[in-house]
Symmetry: C2
Subunit: 752 residues, 2 copies
């Protein structure tokens, strides 16, 4: 944003020609943007990137030893580094080739601590405006005061809709930015520094993954993907990427990360539930294991499991610093506190150690996965995604992978989930120690339900074929020894966990059998399809309510055992917040710039009309237990399921940011903004009421809830009369909605 | 079917090579099929139509003076004519050129009365098998008994699923067909006959229509469309066809047509309501008009309107002979009876006379269009379509055009409604005396709702623009004289009929105004868009429940004043009966060959979930008044509406045929197979219960209802166990469905 403003200012207020090109990666947090700005007195005809620059600014200190940056500055040019280091520390912190280049090429070297400035002003980690101001003060294109004026005007235009506060903070950033720049006296000694940027070679037991990281991911992440020859990819012609590669990025993008304070911790595991990035994980280990761990590893006695130790492992280099864990921690005195990443770096070693320990059956025996606490001792098979720091979508997806990830198929709709779920080159979906993890594929925005239906039908057909051969095996004389195992297999056929076990035992037995006839051979050929799979279709509300709804409806109508999870951000998040049919009345969104004037669609209510579809509406922060139950019930139900998840998003403009996403989820339900319930057809079959309204009558203040979010409060500034009308309607709708839900409890009550 | 079997028999049971090509038009009743069969001892390489045939059969006597048929027979070849004429009548009935060709070219001329034979056997008007047998007996390709055997085997294959009865009837047709052929001794005098086939030149006040008929429609209908040069079409580059051209076809395809028996008639107009082809119409005329009519015109005193005469006008040449009117007539002694077309031909003149009389305001004043009887005094603007004789879809569409046709926009989904609604070259949608009729367009199967939404938005935008200019006009000094008219216009803006009137008065006044300023000029430029339009989207269940559902949902969600009418035949009718989500459990359909095993989708129930969508489920034969009310309420409601119409279809295989479609519609509701209800959000706004269940608890026998239809009863033959299971489920579902509807009455009851 700020860089776009800068080039506009130059173009508009000087007699120079201007050109700008911005290259992004697809990470939503800590993503890399390269801004190529050109300007000059003669018309610009260059159609290539800037690689001989007069000025280069590095906005993130961690890039300094990842990318060749200063090397793009021409001799005598300027280089600005944003960092929290003092001038004295530079010698130690900067890599040798950077120092050498600066010294040898007479580079004007500046530093600034924009992070500190932004924090002090109240802009959190938004350093852009500070750095914009620094740029103008160094580049000296426009007189200092004039430049400030232009920047302020641009800032006003960008932020006035978001409120006066935000405008004022940006003014402050502009005023202070210029003054904070420090010109570094470059020591002559730097010229003699020798060395290359450190190259991190990945090492993994999974050789395909290792090769992928080293040959593809690392170069791509170093912004050198364009240079890879086609031959790099010839071994992967179907485009399948190995899972688990995101864990090799260790981007270290957080400014602050949580520090665990064991003495305060009540071992509730809630921090782990809510972490959008699977960074913070409870681990129970034997005393032996605890002893063998890194010295700095903190532990405490595991509650309820004598002789075991509990630790909260934090992968600080993967943390985004969103603060969700800290805000969620319910301990009387918080057991988590945000600390600068630098100070916590040792935690990474502890995490890596704890992560590698074998998962313990006795832990899962004690703390069942059907409880919120127990679920967190299961390995998340979605980790370290590039979602926005604090994203409301990923905690739901992560939880599903903790429960069923080892036998999951996921069809994914284009949208944020396709970006955080697979932002090339890295893949956050991963595998467990046995090498099992979700099979994930993304088709299109519009046809994802159909795509997932196809995935289901394909594997279901193969499974049925395998089962037919298995039945033939069972009926043959001589199969007596396998009889029990085969029976067990068929008995558990619809129960994911039990069937996985039964299948494992069965396959071992069949593999060990010395006389394999044709049917047995066929069963073994299809062994990967034998066990019960967990079929999921993931997508956003734009997909599920709008563009892909025809397919969603078709899958629900099919009666097949497929689970649909909708991440409901109430807008098309990935493309910047267009209105969907999930967008509530009164919200400002793209295509609803004047505030949406019709209420949102009741997708869950519509799905319930089928009668044979499991339906739930959930909000993790409001009731983690209800959410977990819904996911478990949906998966267990032998038919289609739909779970609609309330997901706060950066596009909502929440005052307090996504750090409080979980609190927002809670208050949304309290205010009657969102309702949680479950509809389980399996209960109806038992003569019970299938519908369970899981939230009390709203007590919170609906309008106050809305007013915390820019998408609503901006309407009160833009068009107060309309805002008043629409918000009143919103309140009335919310009342009616809750009443109708109460009515449904009655409607679905079984006849005596 | 029979011709396909014939060529198969020849190919399979002789040493000859065989080739067949069948050219169809798109009419669903009385459509023309030309079968080109080639066979011979040497391989066939011809890629063109047969036009030098050894044998030609004319299956429909009415074709004999429409098409050049016998001229395709080579000298010495054979010609078979199916007709009800005796040998003696031929001289009179056959056109001169036919007689001349036969005599001059030594043609072996045969006739057969297959219509009589088929009727006697019980095959109704299905003459194909009789004629197939006649063909084999004349063509002498295979020894007679052998040929019969093969034909029977083929018939068994074709019909065994439809039941033993039908197979036996076809056996009888094969046995009798050969014996009924009469070889005609051609009188030598025929050789001297002179003349051409009669050419009917259309005459119309509407010159564009007249030109279209004569230059395009007539040649196309004579199967000479391929010969038209491109230049024929240059005056119509946008592809718009003039309305009302179907009335010029006068196809005379019915064997029997209704005769009106005035003394029995109670003037209820129900025959007119149900006629799928708008053939039978009540007309009230002055005594004067009655006197001036054709002598053969039957009338009686109009009930309730002293001094007026009532007649039932029947356009016998457009009648399909479906019998729906006769079966529906509720008179103690039926006031309609089917009689051979020939005997009723004079009725056409009476119809043409009565049809041209001016519509009488006093009639519509006395018999309101809001009553079933009154609605039938309004001109149907959908007439003489090529739908199957007795089609269950068209009566609904026709009724809508009677109510709003003069101000209607229709977006049509591909399906039967696109064929009967516009089977090129003819158009059954027509205009009234003022030249106003539905604007009809067909987009695609999958995007019709979106297409209709676009039509709505386009006209709504233009209307808003016109209204803005009109407001400007009103505010200017000097506009006082128009003030009242403008006020009236805006007051009635949302009421179709009233606004049409107000607009007319307003436009006349503005046009008469000598000083037209810019705004007034703009209003007049847009005058066609000023009045309130009635926006409709038509389509089948395949479209609405399945392929186009995403769009249907989007339109319903939009809140805009658009009406959706679904012709629910419970299958994809137009393509031969594929299962849709509307297909009920237990029905056999394509893609559900083993019987559909999941219940149908509750489209109406789903739409009700929006709360602001008017929703109705109707069944004309069950309650004409409820259906009419639903249509009127839907149109009057200032928001989206959905009407789901139960429509029996030829694909259901109803025992008794579509002649009893209305009775089926009635019994469907009595049996609980179909429920009728209305949900009117406007009532909720008034504090009343918006939901009205319009049918009593079912009393009929559900299974007996199903068993009348081949789609169900064939499953009992094919797989009795499965049939038993599915039909039990169907009964249980139907009970639950009705109970749930009763529950909804309660659910929607307004809080005290
Ligand atoms: C047919 C089509 N139209 C538009 C797009 C661009 N597009 C990609 S993601 C997206 C929005 C997704 O929104 P949503 O489904 O709500 O998911 P979210 O990003 O909110 O998680 C859009 C419009 C596309 N990929 N395909
Ligand atoms: C995308 C697409 N798929 C298939 C077709 C072929 N097609 C034309 S009409 C039709 C069936 C229409 O069924 P329905 O909507 O139930 O209407 P009905 O014919 O029953 O009135 C199909 C499959 C098509 N035109 N477009
Ligand atoms: S700060 Fe955010 S990313 Fe980091 S551990 Fe806490 S919740 Fe996870
Ligand atoms: S949320 Fe707090 S108390 Fe609970 S496990 Fe995490 S750190 Fe401990
Ligand atoms: S859903 Fe919102 S918060 Fe999450 S990644 Fe997308 S834009 Fe960011
Ligand atoms: S027989 Fe059929 S087409 Fe003819 S008038 Fe009666 S209802 Fe209409
Ligand atoms: S249905 Fe029978 S009684 Fe009624 S108007 Fe028609 S002919 Fe007369
Ligand atoms: S809906 Fe059925 S009866 Fe009507 S035209 Fe189509 S196939 Fe024929």
């Amino acid at each position: 944003g700020a860089n776009k403003n800068s080039i506009k200012i130059i173009g508009d207020h000087t007699d120079m020609y201007a050109q700008a090109y911005f290259a992004y990666d697809s990470k939503k947090s800590g993503g890399v943007t390269i801004s190529h700005l050109r300007f000059g007195k003669s018309p610009i005809k260059s159609t290539y990137f800037v690689n001989k620059a007069n000025f280069v600014a590095c906005h993130n200190p961690s890039y300094i030893d990842k990318y060749n940056m200063v090397q793009d500055v021409i001799p005598g040019g300027s280089f600005l580094l944003n960092c929290q280091w003092s001038v004295d520390e530079l010698d130690e912190k900067l890599p040798a080739p950077v120092k050498a280049y600066i010294a040898k090429n007479n580079i004007n070297f500046y530093i600034i601590n924009a992070i500190k400035v932004a924090k002090e002003i109240g802009l959190g980690n938004k350093t852009n405006t500070v750095l914009q101001s620094a740029f103008f003060s160094i580049a000296n294109i426009i007189p200092a005061e004039e430049a400030k004026d232009y920047m302020k005007k641009a800032a006003y235009k960008s932020f006035s809709k978001k409120g006066e506060d935000i405008v004022n903070m940006n003014y402050a950033a502009i005023d202070r930015g210029a003054g904070e720049v420090i010109k570094v006296d470059v020591p002559a000694s730097w010229a003699s520094c020798e060395g290359e940027l450190p190259v991190h070679k990945a090492v993994s037991d999974r050789k395909d993954l290792e090769a992928f990281i080293n040959n593809i991911q690392t170069p791509c992440n170093a912004q050198r993907g364009d240079e890879l020859p086609v031959s790099t990819f010839t071994s992967m012609p179907d485009g399948t990427f190995p899972q688990g590669s995101a864990a090799f990025e260790k981007r270290g993008i957080a400014v602050d990360v949580p520090e665990w304070i064991p003495e305060n911790c009540i071992q509730c595991n809630q921090c782990s539930v809510v972490c959008p990035h699977a960074v913070i994980r409870p681990v129970i280990m034997t005393e032996e294991e605890a002893k063998n761990g890194p010295a700095s590893m903190k532990t405490k006695d595991a509650t309820g499991m004598a002789g075991y130790k509990y630790t909260m492992a934090i992968s600080v280099l993967d943390c985004t610093g969103c603060g969700a864990c800290v805000n969620t921690c319910p301990a009387k005195t918080k057991a988590l506190a945000l600390k600068p990443l630098d100070s916590q770096i040792a935690e990474q070693e502890s995490f890596d150690y704890a992560h590698k320990l074998q998962s313990k059956p006795e832990v899962l025996e004690k703390f069942k996965e059907t409880t919120v606490k127990g679920s967190q001792f299961k390995q998340p098979l979605l980790e370290f995604s590039g979602a926005c720091a604090g994203c409301g979508e990923t905690p739901y997806a992560k939880l599903v992978t903790q429960l069923f990830g080892d036998r999951m198929y996921i069809a994914n709709a284009t949208g944020c989930s396709s970006i955080w779920g697979g932002s090339a080159p890295s893949t956050p979906y991963t595998v467990n120690a046995e090498g099992k993890g979700p099979a994930w594929g993304n088709s299109l925005f519009e046809d994802n339900a159909e795509f997932g239906f196809g995935m289901f039908l394909a594997q279901d057909t193969l499974r049925a074929r395998a089962q037919a051969h298995l039945k033939a095996v069972a009926e043959k004389p001589g199969a007596e020894h396998a009889k029990e195992l085969i029976d067990k297999y068929f008995e558990t056929a619809n129960d994911g966990a039990a069937n996985a076990k039964a299948t494992k035992a069965l396959v071992s037995a069949l593999e060990a059998c010395p006389h394999k006839d044709e049917d047995m051979a066929e069963v073994l050929k299809l062994k990967d399809y034998l066990s019960k799979k967990s079929n999921w279709i993931f997508g956003g509300d734009g997909w599920a309510y709008d563009i892909g709804y025809g397919g969603v409806d078709h899958v629900l109508a099919s009666g097949k055992n497929i689970n649909i999870m909708v991440f409901d951000t109430e807008v098309y998040s990935n493309t910047g917040g267009q209105a969907s049919k999930a967008t509530p009345i009164g919200a400002i969104a793209q295509f609803a710039a004047g505030g949406k004037d019709i209420k949102n669609k009741d997708l869950a209510g519509i799905a319930m009309k089928y009668g044979y579809v499991y339906v739930a509406q959930v909000s993790l922060g409001a009731d983690k237990n209800q959410c977990l139950k819904a996911i478990l019930e949906a998966e267990a139900y032998d038919g289609p399921s739909l779970i609609v998840c309330y997901a706060p998003c950066i596009n909502h403009g929440i005052k307090g940011g996504l750090a409080i996403a979980q609190q927002v989820e809670k208050e949304a339900v309290e205010a009657g903004y969102w309702n949680i319930f479950r509809f389980n057809p399996a209960l109806a079959a038992e003569g019970k009421n299938p519908f369970s309204l899981d939230c009390k009558a709203p007590t919170g203040d609906y309008k106050a809830f809305m007013m915390r979010e820019v998408r609503y409060n901006s309407l009160t500034r833009q068009n107060p009369e309309k805002a008043a009308v629409l918000f009143d309607k919103a309140v009335a709708n919310s009342k009616k909605r809750y009443d109708d839900l109460v009515g449904l409890v009655d409607y679905y009550k079984p006849a005596e």
